[in-house]
């Protein structure tokens, strides 16, 4: 899959990237000009001067910065209804690379290192009760690579839950293809044991009037960096990118989002909320939204809020909105990181609730604002339980 970088699309004027040396010296002016390639050699080495690696040093990646990685040797357990088909496919398959291309070094390394991708095909007749579960379990810290493709055929409806558990050093690419008029929910849960490092690039491409709800939950793992991106192949797409994260002491949880509005009349909503507790807890949220000239009628809003429960935590929050047309419905963003509000604590304690229970209630409530939007009670319950466990873990 080593091939020339490919960025000229959707009427953008063609241009080339002359390798990483120049890219490193001249800051990129527009999000559309970022290097996209399946070839790891096209990317600059991981260093703090690279915008994408400002907050995360190569030394924390436990070897995921290497040019080539082992294939993921852990288990991928799958549960799905009969009409859903799973298969291992190679780069010759039409779905392989159809949703997006790597935009950073670990994603490119993973692309070249995973010889086959695990393809989940959701047929057109799948109804709302179609639930697919992919559970990654590993007990091996060898730097490794995995590639998943979820293809929701036109008119299908489904929920796909990707669970990551155990111990791993994993670079992952997840491609999400949402066919015309399809309605897909993807939940990605990162709940690794301490000592794990995980980078995951999740590319979604939406067809005509397609709807995607993507929920990204990062709880466990020393370093977890998820980069969800959404692009549109036709007008009328609707994407909702929701995220919840909870960082403990010395955990680094990073989320880098990109919504590429290249088609008219599409809608995007990004809502990410995170809590931080303990010394050295660090979260990063970068939300890029690009509205290209052709994307008239775009309606977009992105929001990130962080709750810092004590001193010694750090939350970086960087929204970037680039607009190339004035003919849009709306575009906005909001970002705020604040300390725990002692007035909330006082109000709850004044009703007899102990300080630790009051904290739990406030944190859970803060994150619940996102969880309430999932719309699937059993998943909401499951996530609430996971967050409660996280809170209990932090408290002890």
């Amino acid at each position: 899959m080593a091939e020339a970088t490919q960025t000229a699309q959707h009427g953008n004027k063609a241009h080339s990237h002359g390798g990483y040396a120049s890219a490193a010296e001249v800051p990129l002016q527009t999000r559309s000009e970022r290097v996209r390639s399946t070839n790891v050699a096209d990317f600059a080495p991981i260093a703090p001067r690279e915008e994408q690696w400002r907050y995360l040093s190569a030394s924390k990646l436990n070897g995921l910065d290497a040019d080539s990685l082992e294939e993921f040797s852990g288990d991928i357990a799958t549960k799905h209804p009969e009409n859903v088909v799973t298969a291992w496919v190679g780069p010759e398959h039409a779905a392989f690379g159809a949703a997006g291309m790597p935009e950073d070094r670990t994603s490119a390394a993973a692309w070249g290192s995973a010889a086959a991708a695990y393809l989940v095909t959701i047929p057109s007749d799948a109804e709302a009760d179609c639930e697919v579960q992919l559970t990654f379990t590993s007990h091996d810290l060898t730097p490794s690579a995995a590639h998943i493709i979820i293809e929701a055929k036109p008119h299908s409806k489904a929920i796909v839950i990707i669970d990551h558990k155990g111990d791993a050093t994993l670079a992952e690419n997840v491609e999400i293809l949402v066919g015309d008029e399809a309605n897909l929910t993807v939940v990605s849960i990162q709940d690794w044991n301490a000592g794990s490092v995980h980078t995951s690039a999740q590319f979604a491409k939406l067809g005509r009037n397609a709807k995607l709800k993507h929920l990204n939950i990062s709880l466990g793992g020393d370093v977890v960096r998820v980069s969800p991106s959404a692009s549109f192949a036709a007008p009328g797409g609707d994407v909702e990118l929701l995220g919840v994260y909870f960082a403990d002491s010395d955990q680094h949880l990073e989320n880098r989002l990109f919504v590429d509005h290249s088609e008219p009349n599409c809608k995007s909503r990004v809502t990410y909320k995170g809590a931080l507790q303990g010394d050295g807890a660090h979260t990063v949220w970068v939300g890029d939204v690009l509205i290209r000239a052709a994307a008239e009628g775009t309606d977009t809003y992105e929001l990130n809020r962080n709750l810092l429960l004590n001193d010694g935590c750090r939350a970086d929050s960087v929204p970037n909105l680039e607009i190339e047309t004035g003919q849009i419905q709306g575009a906005g963003h909001a970002s705020a990181s604040g300390r725990f509000d002692d007035e909330q604590l006082f109000y709850l304690q004044a009703r007899g609730i102990t300080e630790s229970d009051a904290r739990r209630l406030v944190v859970r409530g803060f994150l619940n604002e996102v969880i309430q939007q999932i719309g699937i009670p059993e998943i909401e319950d499951r996530l609430n339980q996971a967050i409660d466990l996280e809170l209990a873990r932090s408290a002890s």
């Binding site: 909330q344 304690q349 406030v362 859970r364 409530g365």
Partner: protein, 250 residues
């Protein structure tokens, strides 16, 4: 019979201009079943008294004591005071995003009684208290105080008063921002709580109008951080006619 005793209470608060003494020796005794109105002009320290009783960390007690049935209230944490039977209906209730009223009330009731209330009886009590306060049944699904109107916030405070059944309640300007209809509904709630549980009430207010609906047994005029005058209900009538000017000039 419960007694709340406030003796020679001095309270300071840290401001940008340095430490400022707000309460300068307050003496008050409230017993079960009694209603005490604390009236006074803005800035006289009425709310400071309310928050100090509840234990807000912003206020520092430099002298004096607060005793609830002989127990040292000042040694208790905020939640311990509530569990001992004190309640503060707040003037500016705080929003708790993502926490539903129903979850909040059940959590508070559980904390106060030491065990989760039996579901059936609890829902019945909740519904009937809400009906009495003319609150819509969908109210419990909303997040605590989020997007509530001024009137809804005050009804929600009184709903808690009725459900949590404290021994002594401090009502901090519960009448502010209420129209006459809402004022009546909220006052009826306080009177029901008094009737049902022999509640002692410390009613803090700037205006006399709430005293038409909640009859005080005692009226204390608060000026410059201490009680300037006290008497029976007739004192409120005099304030209605004369205002606070008499005390401020003195």
């Amino acid at each position: 019979m419960t007694i709340l005793q406030i003796k020679n209470l001095h309270v300071t608060v840290d401001t940008e201009q340095g430490t400022k003494e707000i309460l300068k020796g307050v003496d008050l005794t409230i017993r079960s079943g009694e209603t005490h109105a604390i009236m006074g002009p803005n800035g006289s320290g009425k709310s400071t008294l309310a928050y100090t009783i509840a234990g807000h960390p912003k206020y520092t007690v430099t002298e004096g004591e607060i005793l609830l049935d002989g127990e040292d209230v000042l040694a208790m944490s905020v939640d311990e005071r509530a569990r001992a039977g004190l309640f503060l209906a707040m003037q500016y209730p705080v929003e708790i995003p993502g926490v539903s009223v129903s979850n909040f009330l059940r959590t508070a009731k559980t904390a106060l009684s030491g065990e989760a209330p039996a579901l059936r009886g609890w829902i019945k009590d909740l519904r009937s208290a809400m009906e009495d306060l003319k609150m819509d049944s969908g109210f419990t699904e909303r997040n605590v105080n989020e997007g509530f109107s001024g009137g809804e916030k005050k009804r929600h405070e009184i709903l808690q008063l009725e459900l949590l059944k404290p021994k002594i309640a401090v009502l901090d300007e519960t009448d502010s921002g209420l129209d006459v209809d809402a004022l009546k509904i909220v006052s009826e709630g306080v009177n029901r709580a008094k009737g049902n549980t022999d509640l002692g009430v410390l009613l803090i207010t700037h205006y006399t109008r709430i005293l038409k609906y909640i009859k005080p047994d005692f009226v204390h005029v608060f000026v410059a951080g201490k009680v300037a005058e006290q008497g029976g209900p007739e004192l409120a009538e005099r304030l209605e006619a004369e205002g606070y000017d008499r005390y401020l000039k003195a």
